[in-house]
Symmetry: D2
Subunit: 426 residues, 4 copies
């Protein structure tokens, strides 16, 4: 199924007058406060977030999985799904592949399909946390950190293969998330595991094309429940520094201990020019992988406040790879992603409304009350008309979820694909 | 210092046109979506939150305290401060006294002062977590739970004294927060401590006037760092049930383990008719006592969503005692309280915008996407013009903090009181 | 495979002298301090913990599962495995079945097999967190709490079926763990969900045989990541009280928010006569389901200290159902269970060494230093010779894991069953 | 008061036979398992932990403080107290001063007093988290990170003064703990605060004598409740690296987010040669500052396991500064410290019993069961006779707390000092 601009334009008609009305009122109000609304609109339009190929089907927990109807069962269908999201939101113009779940059989055809939908291939992701059928070595006791050279070599080679696949598609970075760690005290020698990981990453880094980046993710626990080799940003940064200038830390919002101040981590990494990418989701307890912005939208805004600051003030930090990394256990995955995309744009728009100069002055005066007011004023602004305007500008929907339902997307997908398909990798 | 209506009206003038404009646009928009804006305004106007007498001076941590200028050093000055807050916000029409820090010397004079400022005396708070000078018994090892009958008796008598003081002022409830617990395994016999507490509370309950309530607070830790006798809502409810129909659980937002779902606790307590009161603050780590809404405003909204639901659907639950319970370590305490009052009203207003009927339908259809949309639509609405309108209606300020600064309140207080005053109890 | 007493006796021979030597020294030392070593030995011998039928195969996480060789693929083989554990430890004399994974086809044969191995059928567990093939209704949005009567009825009937199965085998309790909850704010009406759950439990309770108990588990999160209907002991107790005298709360060590004081919960529940059972495991982050005692052995000891106290001082509380509930992702499941059984006995033995009378005196004197010394003295005692003696008394192994390896149990199981079996339910 | 060797020897008499008996049995058993007991004894004897000068009086919380009798009110009396601890334990041969609370008036006299008691001056601690009377600048909004150069300069100068004081006493390191941070979003510019801190530390580092070390502590929260400039080991290490080879990270056990794996942090820092010191305490919730080993003794053992490993395998890491950093709110401070010293030695002794070679082999074979057994076997060993033997060797007490009480130390101190003294800085 393909959503045409005409489909969306037609569906927009009934809310267009109301949207224009709201937008004009908001734009006037913001302009009168000194904001350059056009500049904000441009930034919102340019902001694109990658959808991971594995997020298009229903996820699950260790207690089971409830599948959803009309899931994409091939890479082609997955890209079709991303095309639908992008047509509606104009902010999902990239896909992030997970290998080996999504190895293209016909590279040319896949690239053409993606091009036609204005979708780029963002960072590619390797997988060394599961054993593939017929794999020679097992990752049960680790991959890049394993005490066995044979296992490490297999995991290194897999990452080099992933780079190769990504290179053919136009990707410019490799994201490495390691499950490596231990579930019991004594199981691992921390130093050996760390050094093995460092050496393996150096080998992978050596295979990186000149214009690529290596993004190193961290996570405190799960699926290992005592220790994780790359447990926090400090460990990730150490490993990135050990690789070289093209290696960076990647922050996943759900990969932190309770109560972590993530915005500060983001800020310090950008100061050091070492923040490479970002995985969006939300959580209340652990790596819950819930819809972005569904639990702690103010925290998301605070993080975006640092990202915006960094993008403006830290030329030493490269462009970031943005990706949603959530699991859709009980909602229609496409609706869930539409909600995530909206929440990301909302946080970004609000962060753009923070008057950095005024904030700086208040900080220098230790006017803590005012510092808080400045952030809260930005956050309390209802930016939905702004987001809709940014979408409209590029042919997107005023209200993506409403259009998704009005245009009977899921029903059409079920008709085309059948009910009981299962997305690869799930 | 007393803020007159004229002071405030004058200061409002420059923002009145803009406020009216914003309000009209918002009211039209809400009305077109089916909301009864007048009804919402009425509810906001009626909603009053008590200011605790100890929150008017600078707080501190165990590492020290940085004092603030012009702090109130008598009960009269404290009520003066609450009068200022109420004049500006029209939502702080009550004070909550802490005994023995705020024992009136002249009850008649204090009542007259409060009446003139339209301030009521809300719940009175006892203190058995510190030793008072010349006290016969020490609370070092607990008060109502102490193994010594003499200590328990002293603590019981203190609570009866507090009831007596409150009764003279028109209070209708006693709030009991116990620090009782242990800092080391083995120190306490949990069962003995619990039973002593139950028996002591029964004795206090026996001294409660007919139309009073007993509000029992819970807290997992601090100042005891291994166990606390009333560690959670389950323990508090058990004790309240052990006392009788006039005993209730009081929820303080900061008194929970990491990641607790507080809104669910609130909801279940109201279902059982046992939620008696609420202490507002915010926190990122523990009982941080930060400004309400400064860290997790969406969580506050979700809690208010349950409170609004309960107030409408649970006649079995009595009216609630609302109080701010924050510590003001680095901001002007009055500015901090103004921010808290605004955040509370904001969360309440947004909760009033939730379409409970539509939500119910979406829940019955398991339309999880829509359930989330309904809550987020309410939360994303910019209700500031609504809050200002509610204040204006009663003679309050459009922007309380701005008026507070324009009217040079703190400077005047310093002139009147001097710089180096210290609030009693701090 | 069946381990005979002769196998074990033979294997014990080489360590018997050393064991006797250590035991005698320890027994003398304990006796000289006033302990009745024979009484302790008897208690240790009598203490039996149920092994759950699902814990005999390798577990996994949502990121995958690494299987183990020689897993039991039938109920008969599972009981065989429990028989091996019991032969070695003499403390695993019960099995806890999970329905529908373990429905017997021939009740008589299964009972005879279990009898021959001295294994009883402990609490039976229902499963309404997964959809079974061909089930009419889905539990995707809850089971006993579902807004649909048809779903609730199916879940109630399943529980009644489980009671029926258990009844035929001699079980005397039903354990209900509900995954019911929500992953997004607004998804659930907390009050409706709670009331539906209460009503469903009442229906199940009505089907309970006269001498049965209903055990209600609680858990704060997972697999739902925003709210869980039975989120803590307070909610569980409320539901149990709503059912009647035969309903109790069941505590699973991993089902708590970070930093919870579990021993206090245990103690208060026993005071109220409402603790029904216990699920053992260990964890560092969440419901990690690690080997008992592998992460926080002192916390386990403190819990046992309360259990021992309660068993001695709270006749109002019934006998408890003890069960291991861990997941074995990377160890041989049988070895993992042997380590859990040892850790449980160790904590129990140390708790039996606490001089309750001396502790009571120190508590009454607020001698906090001494209270701590008393608990630490018990915990620091090396009780391994005592545990071995208790096992020896009944024909068990001095060192169960060593014997398990010496007797090549796993190798034999692989020979008998093949490598790539998978336990039902995994 | 001074405890002589004779006092202690006399008091030891009644338990000497029993101690020798237990020790011999344990030593035989350990020897038969291949341990070199004499080597272990030597290591235990050599291990010395500094007592901080502020830990000799009762601590408190923000809710108040309950004082203790006979507290030392001068530096001389504090050193006297450390002398008592050292006489009893032979493991407290150092004191760590806190400036400005403990500035000597007569350096020569203080050094002589300390020498006579065999006490060295360990790391000196600066204090920029409180305002001193008559200080020109306030630390309310930060010290080394403050946006005001005048404040930073005052804080830098204070640290240089502390170095100077320490230098006169023979100290060889400066410990910097910063409370700097923010309590509200927006209050601080994270990058500015970090860079200011880095620059200030570089200035302090420039004033460090050649043979000194700079130890940089980290802490996630408290007394600031939104962000802390040096929030974790990653930030501390970055700052240390920014200073130079003599700057190191200092780990305080209580300064971590819930569920942190501290032993892994320790291990990786030693691998990088950057662990400089260690502050011991214990906690259940936050920075509770409880007696070492009173809550999580197994975690302490696991940390010591890494420390022992690092001390043996990481020559790149310098000798560590060991210090107790606990607060004594309800116990006699000296008794509390005796318990802490015992717990530290216990964890160290058990870590020395880990067979590193056997562990290495099990790790290489991925024999997770055995890895766990090896650690647990060491931990389950009752090492108390070993600790007593190490003390006896140097003239210490078999049972320090018992001797402390038998010798009526506190009573004597009260007689000498009076009841209502208050330790400086409390």
């Amino acid at each position: 199924m393909k959503l045409t601009e005409q489909h969306i334009e037609d569906d927009n008609k009934k809310s267009l007058a109301s949207q224009n009305n709201s937008y004009n009122f908001l734009a006037d109000s913001l302009t009168s406060k000194g904001h350059n609304v056009d500049a904000i609109l441009s930034k919102l339009s340019e902001f694109q977030v990658a959808v991971p190929s594995w997020a298009l089907g229903a996820g699950g927990t260790r207690f089971g999985r409830f599948s959803f109807y009309g899931e994409p069962s091939t890479l082609q269908e997955k890209i079709e799904d991303v095309g639908i999201l992008h047509a509606l939101t104009q902010t999902a113009g990239a896909v992030s592949l997970h290998i080996p779940w999504d190895i293209p059989t016909d590279y040319k055809a896949i690239k053409e399909q993606a091009d036609a939908l204005h979708i780029k291939f963002d960072s590619v992701n390797s997988n060394t946390f599961q054993d593939q059928k017929n794999a020679k070595e097992s990752y049960k006791f680790g991959s890049l950190s394993n005490t066995s050279k044979a296992v490490r070599d297999q995991a290194i080679q897999h990452n080099l293969d992933v780079i190769n696949i990504g290179d053919k598609l136009g990707s410019k970075s490799l994201t490495v998330w390691l499950a490596d760690g231990s579930s019991f005290p004594g199981q691992n020698n921390f130093q050996t595991a760390f050094q093995n990981t460092q050496n393996s990453l150096i080998d992978i880094y050596a295979g990186l094309p000149e214009d690529w980046k290596l993004l190193i993710e961290y996570k405190p626990y799960e699926p290992n429940f005592y220790s994780t080799v790359i447990q926090d940003w400090g460990a990730s940064l150490m490993l990135a520094n050990g690789c070289g200038d093209k290696a960076f830390t990647l922050v996943d919002l759900g990969h932190h201990l309770p109560n972590s101040n993530i915005e500060q981590i983001v800020s310090i990494l950008m100061l050091k020019g070492k923040l490479g990418g970002f995985h969006f989701n939300d959580s209340k307890y652990g790596d819950d992988d819930l819809t972005v912005g569904s639990i702690k939208p103010y925290a998301l805004f605070l993080i975006f406040n640092e990202l915006v600051y960094g993008m403006e003030s830290n030329p030493q930090n490269p462009d970031l790879a943005w990706m949603i990394d959530a699991s859709h256990n009980i909602k229609d995955p496409l609706e869930d992603l539409l909600q995530s995309l909206e929440a990301i744009q909302e946080a970004y728009a609000k962060a753009l409304l923070v008057d950095q100069k005024e904030l700086r002055t208040a900080q220098l005066e230790n006017d803590v009350t005012k510092c808080q007011e400045i952030l809260q004023n930005a956050f309390r602004t209802d930016v939905r008309p702004l987001l809709a305007a940014a979408r409209l500008k590029n042919g997107g929907a005023i209200n993506p979820i409403q259009s998704y339902r009005n245009l009977a997307v899921r029903e059409t997908l079920i008709k085309e694909r059948g009910k009981h398909t299962i997305a690869t990798g799930l």
